[in-house]
Amino acid sequence: MSDIEERVKKIVVEHLGVEEGKIQSDSKFIDDLGADSLDTVELVMAFEEEFGCEIPDDAAEKIVTLKDAVTYLSANSN
C-alpha cells in the first residue's frame, strides 16, 4: 500500500468511524461506508488539511471512493 493510500485510509477510518479492514479501495464513501453528503464535505476538508492542497468543488464531487481520493491526491498534492 502506498504512503498516500495509508494516509487517506487513516482519515476515512477517523471520520467515518469504520473499521480499517472493511475499507476496500473501491468502497464508496456514501453507499458502502455509511457517510452522508455532509460527511463527504468534511472528508475532502480533511484530505486538504493532510496533503496541504486545495481540492476544487468540481474535483471533490468526483471523489467518491478511496481509490478516487488516492488517484487525485497522487497527482495533485505537494
Binding site: G17, L38, V41, E42, M45, E48, E54
Partner: protein, 410 residues
C-alpha cells in the same frame, strides 16, 4: 377533556448523569458547583459554574464520532432523552409515531460551536468551516435529532425563551396533547453555555455571582443576604408527557398530572423583571385557573430562585400574594445546588418537582444562612424535608420579560 400525565423522566446535570443519582445528591444537600477548569478564567469576574465532567457523558448513548458533529447542548439533550424514553417504556410503531412529537428547546443553543467557527473563519478562512457547523448549533436540531433517533413524527419544534425555555416546552407540549394535536410528547430543555463567550456575556450583563470564587459551593444562595448573582449550570431535562388514556392503555408508570400552565410577558425591561412581580404573578395565576385548584391547595413552589438581588425577592412577593393563604406553604430553589441551567432549568426542575411528589421529599435551598426576608413561607434552608404534597407549581422567568409556570399534581 383530555388529561395529560408524565410517564418518563430523564436528566443529566451537575449533580449526576441520571435522575436517581442527581436526585439523591440533591436531597442530601450536595452541591454541583465548582471552579471552572475547562478554559482559563483568570481574567473573568466569575470563575465558578455547575459543570458536567466529560467522563459523565456516556458515549454508548451518543458516540464520540456523533459528538464531534453536534454541539454539547445536543449531546446532553440526547442523553436525557434516552433516559426518559427508556423510563417511559414507550416504543413507536407506524401508527403511534405520527401522534408522538418532540418539543425540546434551549436558551442559547450551540454558542461554543458558533464561537469556535467564528474564530476559524477569521483566522483560517471560509474553506475551513465545517459542514456540520450550522446543524450542530441550531436550537431546534436537538428536537430534530430526537425525532430521527426515536422515529417521532408528530409535532416538532423548539421554544426559545431564555431561562423559561424548559418550562415553556413542557407547557406547550401539554397544550398540544390537551388540544388533541398529539398523544405523546418528548419535551424539555438542554443547555451548554459554560464556555468563554457564555460566561463573559453574562458577566458583562452583571448577572453572574462574582463574590464566591474561592468557595464555589457557597456561590448560589437564593434569598440569602450575601447573594450576588446566579451561577451558571449546564445539562438537560426531558419529560415524557402523555394523554392519560394513552398511558393507561399501555400500563405506563405515571409520575403525576400536568394540571395547569400559565405564561405571560412583563413588557418592562430586557433583563430585569417587572418591579411589582406582576408578570410572574399572572403566569402563576393563569396556571392556577387552568388547574381549577384553589390557591391554598398548592403545597410547594419549585422556585425560579436564581440568587440574583432583584429577582429572588420579586418572585417571593408574587408567591406570597397569590399563595400566602396557605400557612404551611414550602418553596425552595434547586439552583442553589445545580446553578442556573438557563434553557434547561425549568425542565430539570420539573424532573425534580415530580421526584418531590413521588418520594414525598422536598429538596433544600442550600446556603440560605441569613435570609433576606422574614417571610412565613418555609424556604427549606439547607436540609431536605419530608412532606407529602398533592399539588405544586414550578416557575421560570427569562430575559425579555418572559414568564412560565406549570402546576403538577397527583
Amino acid at each position: 377533556m383530555r388529561r395529560v400525565v408524565v410517564t418518563g423522566l430523564g436528566t443529566i446535570n451537575p449533580l449526576g448523569n441520571n435522575v436517581e443519582t442527581s436526585w439523591d445528591n440533591l436531597i442530601n444537600s450536595k452541591s454541583g458547583i465548582s471552579k471552572i477548569t475547562k478554559f482559563n478564567v483568570d481574567n473573568y469576574p466569575c470563575k465558578i459554574a455547575g459543570s458536567i465532567e466529560d467522563s459523565q457523558i456516556n458515549d454508548k448513548i451518543v458516540s464520540i464520532r456523533e459528538q464531534r458533529k453536534i454541539d454539547r447542548f445536543i449531546t446532553l439533550g440526547l442523553i436525557a432523552a434516552n433516559e426518559a424514553i427508556i423510563d417511559s417504556g414507550f416504543t413507536t410503531n407506524d401508527k403511534n409515531s405520527l401522534r408522538s412529537g418532540v418539543m425540546v428547546g434551549s436558551g442559547i443553543g450551540g454558542l461554543d460551536t458558533i464561537y469556535k467557527n467564528s474564530s476559524i473563519l477569521d483566522n483560517q478562512g471560509i474553506r475551513k468551516i465545517s459542514p456540520f457547523f450550522i446543524p450542530s448549533s441550531l436550537i431546534n436540531l436537538l428536537s430534530g435529532h430526537i425525532s430521527i433517533k426515536y422515529n417521532l413524527k408528530g409535532p416538532n419544534g423548539s421554544p426559545v425563551t431564555a431561562c423559561a425555555t424548559g418550562t415553556h416546552a413542557i407547557g406547550d407540549s401539554f397544550t398540544l396533547i390537551k388540544n388533541n394535536k398529539a398523544d405523546l410528547m418528548v419535551c424539555g430543555g438542554a443547555e451548554a453555555a459554560i464556555c468563554p463567550l457564555g460566561i463573559s456575556g453574562f458577566s458583562a450583563a452583571r448577572a453572574l455571582c462574582d463574590t464566591f470564587n474561592e468557595q464555589p459551593v457557597r456561590g448560589s444562595r437564593p434569598w440569602d443576604k450575601d447573594r450576588s448573582g446566579f451561577v451558571m449550570g449546564e445539562g438537560a431535562g426531558i419529560l415524557i408527557l402523555e394523554e392519560l388514556d394513552h398511558a393507561k392503555k399501555r400500563n405506563a408508570k405515571i409520575y403525576g398530572e400536568v394540571k395547569g400552565y400559565g405564561l405571560s410577558g412583563d413588557a418592562f425591561h430586557i433583563t430585569k423583571p417587572s418591579e411589582d412581580g406582576n408578570g410572574g404573578y399572572r403566569a402563576m395565576e393563569m396556571a392556577l385557573n387552568e388547574s381549577q385548584l384553589n390557591s391554598h391547595e398548592i403545597d410547594y413552589v419549585n422556585a425560579h430562585g436564581t440568587s440574583t438581588q432583584i429577582g429572588d425577592m420579586i418572585e417571593l412577593s408574587a408567591v406570597e400574594k397569590l399563595f400566602g393563604s396557605n400557612d404551611s406553604l414550602c418553596m425552595s430553589s434547586n439552583k442553589s445546588a445545580i446553578g442556573h441551567l438557563l434553557g434547561a432549568a425549568g425542565a430539570v426542575e420539573a424532573v425534580f418537582s415530580l421526584k418531590s411528589m413521588q418520594t414525598k421529599t422536598l429538596p433544600p435551598t442550600l446556603n440560605l444562612e441569613n435570609p433576606d426576608t422574614n417571610t412565613n413561607i418555609n424556604l427549606i434552608p439547607n436540609e431536605a424535608i419530608s412532606k407529602s404534597i398533592k399539588n405544586l407549581i414550578s416557575n421560570s422567568f427569562g430575559f425579555g420579560g418572559t414568564n412560565a409556570s406549570l402546576i403538577f399534581g397527583y
